[in-house]
């Protein structure tokens, strides 16, 4: 069964350092999402890509976060500099072309970030 791959699974860093997360969506999925999930809460969308283009980054803290999907396949989410409040699970999801009828997003296992 095809899965969304994410790495690393865990990342510990000190504040003010740079961190990067990688995501490989399910093959053929044009839409890719990055979410942040704080412990005990639901995922919150950070950025959405359609192929290589950003279609929604309204919740992405652009002063320190950046995301790219250069070839429209895999994607990288970067934080620089990391702050204590960035400690969370970072989830990647992908979907085939969302339609007016459905939008099933398939999630990876996530990267658990701890900022010390």
């Amino acid at each position: 069964e095809a899965e969304v791959a994410q790495s690393p699974r865990y990342k510990i860093t000190e504040k003010s350092q740079a961190v990067a997360f990688w995501c490989d969506p399910i093959s053929g999925h044009a839409t890719l999402y990055w979410y942040r999930q704080i412990l005990g809460q639901g995922p919150e969308l950070l950025v959405q890509f359609q192929d290589e283009s950003v279609v929604d980054d309204s919740q992405l803290p652009k002063d320190r976060f950046s995301a790219e999907r250069l070839k429209g396949v895999d994607s990288t989410l970067k934080i620089q500099p990391a702050e204590l409040g960035d400690s969370a699970m970072y989830l990647c999801a992908s979907s085939s072309e969302p339609t007016t009828l459905k939008n099933i997003q398939y999630f990876g296992a996530g990267t658990r970030l701890s900022v010390l």
């Binding site: 969304v4 994410q6 839409t31 005990g40 809460q41 639901g42 995922p43 919150e44 969308l45 959405q48 279609v55 929604d56 989830l91 999801a93 969302p98 007016t100 009828l101 459905k102 939008n103 099933i104 997003q105 398939y106 999630f107 990876g108 296992a109 996530g110």
Partner: protein, 113 residues
């Protein structure tokens, strides 16, 4: 604004019982709803979805009910098993906007053997 919430943060049931997990949403313009299951240390896993033109949809041991009058969504799990223990999230999508899903805070289901 968009808001999805859950009535109960935790639910404990006996193995074999039926479980009902509830979700309230505030945006009457939402046209699509989806339930996810998240086990500890894993990403959310799709369970079942429903469009706003439907009242009920059934899957394998799961049923989703949508009451648009009171803006309420529920997930029913039949013959709950220990493997069903997880956090369950509902999410909504608002018609006319982006394809963004807005997630609620989740309900933790514990199944006692």
């Amino acid at each position: 604004g968009e808001s999805v919430g859950l009535h109960l943060p935790t639910l404990s049931v006996q193995e074999g019982d039926n479980s009902i997990i509830n979700c309230a949403y505030s945006n009457s313009a939402s046209d699509y709803f989806i339930w996810y299951k998240q086990e500890s240390g894993k990403g959310p896993q799709f369970i079942i979805d429903i469009r706003s033109n439907m009242d009920k949809r059934q899957g394998q041991r799961v049923t989703v009910l949508l009451n648009k009058t009171v803006k309420h969504l529920s997930l029913q799990i039949a013959a709950t098993q220990p493997g069903d223990s997880a956090v369950y999230f509902c999410a909504e999508r608002t018609q006319g906007g982006s394809e963004k899903l807005v997630f609620g805070k989740g309900t933790k289901l514990t199944v006692n053997p």
